[in-house]
Symmetry: C2
Subunit: 300 residues, 2 copies
């Protein structure tokens, strides 16, 4: 399963970076190969200052070795070994009418010191962070998420949509990071689903990503916008930073377990602003967006 899933995400990384480069026209991803001193490594692909994507990363990694102390505490296990691989992506478009998107698909194994497999599971998801609300876009994104889920279980969409809303939540602001999508974790084999079935589900979601996101990027990337709308985007990107640095478990783990900092922090937006006590005007498009973040909706 390790090899199988890593091959899947290598291929998916190629498909996604190709598709984004097609949207761009000129700008290309730069690739960095890196190795982890304790075992494993990754392939980081970053695109900066594109016509469409202001900053984006589509990264894969496969790391292994003794489970770091801080993760032992988190997983409530002793001194075990682990293998983890995954694809993480964040795309920050330049145009404030186009939403930021994040996705991640990952696979984890844990072994005792004799090398016996103790646990194995999948996790991941994909979620959307718009700066202006286009309801059709959000409905499209969620519809593709739902279709991918429905192929596998009638409850998956409802369950993982809810998990996404509660995970990507800036509790200190009492608002969602975005309009959600899917989030799932610890998909272990159990009485109901074999590991193969879990693999099929996660890869169906991975396969759905471009269909969920690309049409939105295509529709919005050339819309006109004002400097004020751009400022709003940069202010909202500040909330994205707050979530990633204060609440996001993946980011904090990376920082605490000697991960590759530049690959982890590629998620941070390129240009960000923080004003004191910024409040959009009542009835404005900005206030409308905020209203949806304060009160997550069901989109499909």
């Amino acid at each position: 399963m390790k090899e199988r899933f890593y091959q899947y995400i290598q291929n998916l990384q190629d498909r996604i970076t190709d598709a984004i480069e097609t949207q761009e026209g000129k700008a290309k991803f730069k690739e960095d190969l890196w190795t982890r001193p304790e075992g494993g490594g990754g392939r980081t692909r970053i695109l900066e200052n594109g016509e469409v994507i202001e900053k984006g990363g589509v990264n894969i990694s496969a790391v292994h070795g003794p489970l770091p102390k801080s993760m032992q505490a988190y997983f409530k296990v002793g001194d075990v070994d682990f293998f983890a691989c995954g694809l993480s992506l964040v795309l920050h478009p330049k145009n404030p009418m186009a939403p930021t998107v994040h996705a991640n698909w990952r696979y984890f194994e844990m072994y005792d010191k004799k090398g016996e497999l103790i646990e194995q599971w999948f996790g991941g998801g994909q979620d959307l962070t718009p700066y202006y609300l286009f309801e059709d876009d959000v409905i499209h994104f969620h519809s593709i998420c739902k279709r991918a889920c429905d192929e596998h279980h009638p409850q998956f969409y409802t369950e993982f949509k809810k998990k996404c809303d509660s995970y990507f939540y800036n509790s200190h602001r009492e608002e969602a990071r975005g309009v959600g999508g899917l989030f799932f974790d610890y998909l272990k084999k159990d009485s109901q689903f074999s590991l193969d079935e879990r693999y099929n589900f996660v890869t169906t979601v991975g396969d759905s990503f471009l269909e969920a996101y690309l049409p939105l990027l295509e529709k919005r990337k050339e819309m006109t916008f004002t400097p004020e709308q751009r400022t709003w985007q940069e202010i909202r990107r500040g909330r994205y930073v707050e979530f990633n640095l204060v609440h996001d478990k993946g980011t904090l783990f990376g920082l605490r377990t000697n991960g590759r900092i530049e690959s982890i922090l590629m998620s941070l937006p390129p240009k960000v602003q923080w004003y004191y006590n910024h409040q959009p005007k009542d009835g404005s498009k900005e206030a409308q967006m905020l209203e949806v973040l304060k009160n997550p909706r069901n989109w499909v």
Copy 2:
């Protein structure tokens, strides 16, 4: 002591905001008075888009009530009441040649449920975050810090300078946030120092702030700079955000204990950039600055 120290910081807030407004010429601080539902409140003063200060806050607060659960765990105490008051300030100048400065002076009391005082202590400090290294500036700042300390104990400067270097440290980047200054906490009365003596020390440091910082602001605020130097400043401000959101205990406490978000996050810089894997050119002024952050020096 509660009233005495709160009067001190009210007065110090006035002195500092007056002095900054004098530097500015036109821009003024805006004041927000707020109350905390569980007890207490504060006086937040923010200046944005000044000629000299791009964003700055000089805030005081005095809060009390039952100690929040998350802080009970942190202090390893049970269900107690508390009183806390302090002044926190962060000034982000517009000119990249002028350093950002942070300072905080605070007093804390803890009581059992009968209202008996269990503990009382002072904490605080002041530290400098330049974007370009002017050695004379750093030496001046540290000299004033040292003079304030030396009035009270020959070891204070060495001890609190070291604490500052180790506290304001972005461990995930293996670099200091800035060039340090002073940091101290849990200054309780003990066999060596009475509470009055601790009060005298903390207020000597508070009184030294303007003398330590204002001359640097005055010298640097009108220097010419290039767009590239401004970009470097915005990239380095990103590291400031990373420290405050990932590592700073004060910020994280505030966010977790239902503090006033906008007063806490006033510390975040106004305009920030994150590039992937940004490295200054060897031998450049930017590399020279980074070198000092990687290897904290003794300045006096």
